[in-house]
Amino acid sequence: MTPEEERALGELMARGQRGDGAAYERLLTELSDLTRRFVRRRVGDVSWAEDVTQEALLAVHRARHTWNPARPFVPWFYAVVQSRLIDVIRRERRVRGREVANETALDLARQRAAEAHVLAAHDLSAAIRQLGPTQQRVIELLKLEERSIRDVARALGLSEGNVRVIAHRAMKALQKILGTSGDRAY
């Protein structure tokens, strides 16, 4: 930036301090371009460059009374932009950190659910193996293969009522086995 351009920006800011809206609009437009270039130079092309630009413009607006017209404008302006850039970088890091933490927590929850599922299946298989042979067969056909009572009765050569009684007793026995031998909550 040439000294003339720096002086021109200072002049626009001085007019802005006096309430000249048109000069102020021109100044902010120029400053938005300068801010974008500054951000690109410092951190490259980032998705949040426009956030920095807008926050810098707001900060310039709120701090405009602290610029002394007798002093150069550009160092004042870049101090504001630098501070906003640092704040936005910190915020982005926090957001990214939270996103990573959320993803990690979700992965962990999925992994735990899968482990619990495997453990539950393992416990159930072990419990079924403790049942009598007929009860085991009834449970396998009725609950695991999801066949109807009529099919199970036909397959095992039993009456439907008998299958119901065996299934009921087998379920009671399974509840007892899982309730007393397992200390996991499913």
């Binding site: 609009e25 426009e50 807008q54 607006h61 405009r64 009374h65 002394n68 160092p75």
Partner: protein
């Protein structure tokens, strides 16, 4: 942000109000120093100077304490005012303030170490809330004045600005307490003169940012068009 930058610029220009540029850091430091001196004098006058006043000011430990506290007070205020204006940050003013405050604490620690050689009585400390009150009495107005000055500017590092402002004012308070309290025992000075300064500065580090970074009234931006 979901606002377009062009819309933001138009809104800022549309709602623009004239502003009076704040006075330079030097001018504001001079104003604050004046306010601090008046408060200090008033506090000493109201509470009363220490009984051995004319003689005490000639003693070199009192002179050393006073000099270090004046440096911490003035440079702390200067550093806080520097931090309150974008582009004015000066590392040397912060360094002078912090180093002077630490030197004062180290000096008191050294006096305590010397006194400890004379017996266990050096470690004894009585209750003296009146001295903590004297620190507050002499430091409160300078603290409020300086925090208002910082708040009315635009501190880009509000936490540091608030902490330095409070360190500065509390140093003036401790200076006032030194001139009002005749107790020269190092343990008393450390607990009832220095500890309030450290506590106030620590407190400002914790909550000071919210005090000085509040937005100036009427500066909300209307984006409704």
């Amino acid at each position: 942000m979901t606002v377009r930058t062009d819309d933001l610029i138009a809104a800022l220009a549309r709602g623009l109000t004239p502003v009076v540029p704040v006075a330079t850091v030097r001018v504001r430091l001079a104003r604050w120093t004046g306010a601090a001196l008046v408060t200090l004098a008033a506090a000493v006058w109201v509470v009363g100077a220490r009984g051995d006043w004319p003689a005490a000011i000639g003693e070199w430990p009192v002179q050393a304490h006073s000099l270090l506290l004046v440096i911490a007070g003035v440079f702390g205020a200067l550093a806080a005012l520097h931090l309150a204006v974008p582009g004015e940050r000066r590392g040397w003013s912060q360094a002078w303030a912090v180093c002077a405050a630490l030197a004062w604490l180290a000096w008191l620690g050294g006096e305590l170490a010397l006194a400890a050689g004379t017996g266990e009585a050096a470690w004894r400390v009585g209750v003296s809330w009146s001295c903590a009150f004297k620190v507050i009495a002499a430091g409160l107005v300078p603290a409020v004045v300086l925090l208002v000055m910082v708040r009315r500017s635009a501190p880009l590092a509000p936490r540091a600005a608030a902490a330095l402002a409070v360190l500065s004012a509390a140093s003036i308070g401790a200076l006032g307490a030194e001139w009002m309290c005749p107790n020269t025992r190092p343990m008393h000075l450390l607990v009832w003169h220095a500890l309030p300064v450290v506590a106030a500065t620590g407190f400002a580090l914790l909550i000071g940012a919210s005090i000085v970074s509040a937005r100036a009234a009427g500066d909300d931006v209307d984006l409704s068009g």
